[in-house]
């Protein structure tokens, strides 16, 4: 069955430090992979997506993610975190008619 695992429920990072959020997926075919961000009281905003081609994809707000087929992973990274990045982050895999989401990782940013 298709599934997405985000192993870290909550991460705290100092402002200016680097960030990596982990995502592992289980999917039968070539996956369509996404990262979304949700700020408190807001809907989901698409950060980046992977369909094919270059395994390192760039997104908005300085985020990037790398698709590693051998590890079934699609980790999200940012070299320098800003306080405004504090939010909940969701990894998702495209299914036939819907997205399957991980449980999310809450990012806190300390000063």
């Amino acid at each position: 069955a298709q599934s997405v695992t985000q192993p870290d429920i909550h991460i705290t990072v100092s402002e200016g430090a680097s960030l990596e959020l982990r995502c592992n997926y289980s999917y039968g075919a070539t996956p369509y992979l996404f990262w979304y961000v949700q700020s408190p009281g807001q809907g989901l905003q698409l950060l980046l997506k992977y369909f094919s081609g270059d395994t390192l994809v760039q997104g908005i707000k300085g985020f990037e993610a790398e698709f590693k087929r051998s590890q079934s992973s699609f980790n999200l990274r940012k070299p320098s975190v800003h306080w405004s990045d504090a939010a909940e982050y969701f990894c998702a895999v495209g299914a036939r008619t819907a997205l399957i989401f991980g449980k999310g990782t809450t990012l806190s940013v300390s000063s």
């Binding site: 369509y32 996404f34 979304y36 009281g41 807001q42 997205l99």
Partner: protein, 115 residues
């Protein structure tokens, strides 16, 4: 253009009452999705509409839940005889071409509280 809009933003209802939640997708988007976001369950797919095809209702949790999409645009999610476990944020999303991507754009959600 405008994004996905949902109304109301908040809804408080008494157990046993029916509620209707509305979604206006991005103009021209042929696919429309409903999801439910609740504590402990994360984001769950409920139902999917694509053009004039029969909807995929495989995610609806019970027969108290139904949805329709009129004129290929606006959608209404109806929950009958609401229960406390229905309390959640209901998110709507739309996308343009399923064949090429599953990229979905989400609305702000409707927070439903059943008392």
């Amino acid at each position: 253009g405008a994004g996905v809009s949902q109304s109301p933003s908040n809804k408080v209802t008494e157990k046993g009452k029916d509620v209707e939640l509305r979604c206006d997708p991005i103009s021209g988007h042929t696919a429309l999705y409903w999801y439910r976001q609740s504590l402990g369950q994360g984001l769950e797919f409920l139902i999917y509409f694509q053009g004039n095809s029969a909807p995929d209702k495989s995610g609806l949790p019970s027969d108290r839940f139904s949805a329709e999409r009129t004129g290929g645009s606006v959608s209404t999610l109806t929950i009958q005889r609401t229960q406390q476990e229905d309390s959640a944020v209901y998110l709507c999303a739309s996308s343009s071409r399923l064949a090429e991507s599953y990229e979905q754009y989400f609305g702000p959600g409707t927070r439903l509280t059943v008392t």
